[in-house]
Subunit: 232 residues, 2 copies
DNA sequence: TCCATACTTCGACCGTAGCCGAAGCATCTC
DNA sequence: GAGATGCTTCGGCTACGGTCGAAGTATGGA
C-alpha cells in the first residue's frame, strides 16, 4: 500500500457538489469571478470563498486579481482532463443532472469544452476534416496532413504559429454528449477563436453553450459538410 | 447551471482516502477480495464492506462471487481513465504519498497500469518501438505500421485477432512516474500477457509492480534497445 | 470623503459520513 | 453437523466539513 500519487485529495475537491458545479462551469474555459461561481454553485459568497480557497490550495484553480474582482480559471489542461473524463464516465452511467430546459438542446448542439468546440457541431467538424483529408485519424490520435495545412491557411489560421508552441496541435477529446471524438489541442482552440473573430458564433453568459448566428451557421455548415447518403 | 453530467458523485467516491487506495490498487487490473481491499485501505472489514457497497452502487466496481470470496474489479476502462488522469494530475503537483520503501524503485521501474506495462520499462518499450518504426507516433496518438505488424508477429502476437476487437489497438497513456507516454490499448495488453506467458516477468502479490527474471530482463532489454549516444 | 461593490475572515451550528464492536448470514472443510 | 472463514448488517459514537450571519478589508467611483 501507499504507492503512487494521492488521488484522494483531488477526488475530495471535486466531490463536493458546489465545487463540482464550479469546476464544470470553468471547463467552459472562461475566467469567472467569485460571485459568478457562487451563483453556479448555488451557495452564498462566503461559502464560495472558502471553496475557492481550497481549490486554489489544491492547485486546481489559478486566481487573477483585476480591480476588485478575482477571476478564476482552471490551472491547466491536466486539471481539465480528469474533469472531462469524469464527465465521460458520468454520462456513460446516465448520471445526468439535466434540468431539461431550453438550454439543454443548445448545449448538445455546440458548446465549449475547455477552449475548443464540442457537441454535435464539434463532432461534425472533425468528421468533415477527416473526410476531406485535412486531418488523419490514425489509431486513437489525430494528425494534421499537408493538405490540411493548406486548408487551415485558407480559413485564416497560421499553422506555423501554432507549431511553435509546445502544446500538441491536434488532440482528440471524447465528447460526453455525442460519445464520439472532437478536435482539441491548439488547432481546435484556434478554430473556435476564428469563428468568434469572424462573428459566426458567440458565447452565452452563464453557460457553456455556443450560439451561432444564422449567417455563421450557414457558413459553418458549408465549410464542414457531411457526406450524406444518396437516397432519402 | 445544472448542465451536463454529474461529476460530484464519482468525485466523492474517489475522494475518500480508503476508497482511493482501493481503487488505485485495482488499477493494477487484478481482481481483489474484500479482505485484501480492506488491507490496502487500512480499515477493518466492516468498514471496507460499506465502502465497497458504495463503489459498486456508483458503478465503479464489478463484484464477482466465487465461493465464499467476493472479487472486485474496476467496472471498465471508463473508470480507469479518470483515475489514471487524476494520478497524472497528483503526480504533476507532487502529491505523492510514498512511504519510500524498497517497493518504490521497483514500482517506478515496471508496473501494471490497468492491464499494460508502465514505468521506466513501459516508456522504454514504446520509445524503442517508435525508433524502429513499428509504431508511428503521430500527433498525440499512436498507430501500428505495416512493419510493426511483422515485428509483433515475430514476438508471437497475432495482430489480426486484436484488430477484430472493438477496443483500440494502440493508445498512448501518460505515465505518472516518467511523465512520458507508454503503450496502452489491446496491443499494450497483449505484450504484457506475452511477457508473462514467456516467463520473462511476473506480478507481485499486493503490489502493482512487475518483477522481471534475470533472463527475462536480458531478453526484454535486447528486444527493446534504446539508441545510446556514442560517447560515454 | 463617503459610499457602494467585491471579497475574506470569524464564529457557531448542524448533518453527514466514516469508523468500529458485536452479532448475523453464507459458504467451505472436516 | 460442528467449526472455521469470508463477508454483511446493525447500532452508536465521533469528527470533519459544509453552511451561513455578521463583521472586517480592499478597491473603485462620485
Amino acid at each position: 500500500m501507499k504507492e503512487g500519487p494521492d488521488i484522494a485529495q483531488i477526488g475530495a475537491l471535486i466531490g463536493d457538489p458546489a465545487r463540482a458545479n464550479m469546476l464544470a462551469a470553468l471547463t467552459g474555459g472562461k475566467a469567472l469571478t467569485a460571485t459568478e461561481l457562487a451563483a453556479v454553485g448555488g451557495i452564498t459568497l462566503q461559502t464560495a470563498s472558502a471553496h475557492l480557497a481550497k481549490l486554489e490550495a489544491g492547485g486546481l484553480l489559478l486566481p487573477r486579481k483585476q480591480g476588485r474582482h478575482r477571476y478564476f480559471t482552471l490551472a491547466d489542461e491536466t486539471v481539465a482532463r480528469p474533469i472531462e473524463s469524469m464527465m465521460g464516465f458520468a454520462a456513460s452511467r446516465g448520471h445526468l443532472r439535466h434540468q431539461p430546459g431550453p438550454k439543454e438542446p443548445a448545449l448538445r448542439k455546440a458548446r465549449i469544452c475547455y477552449d475548443h468546440l464540442a457537441g454535435d457541431y464539434g463532432v461534425r467538424m472533425l468528421d468533415s476534416l477527416v473526410a476531406r483529408g485535412a486531418i488523419d485519424a490514425v489509431g486513437d490520435g489525430l494528425a494534421l496532413t499537408a493538405k490540411g495545412e493548406e486548408t487551415f491557411q485558407c480559413i485564416g489560421i497560421n499553422v506555423a504559429d501554432l507549431k511553435a508552441s509546445r502544446r500538441p496541435l491536434c488532440r482528440s477529446c471524447l465528447d460526453w454528449s455525442e460519445r464520439r471524438a472532437h478536435l482539441a489541442g491548439s488547432l481546435g482552440k484556434a478554430l473556435l477563436v476564428n469563428f468568434f473573430d469572424k462573428g459566426w458564433a458567440r458565447r452565452t453568459a452563464g453557460s457553456r453553450s455556443v450560439i451561432f448566428s444564422p449567417e455563421g451557421e450557414r457558413q459553418f455548415l458549408a465549410l464542414f459538410p457531411v457526406e450524406t447518403p444518396v437516397a432519402a
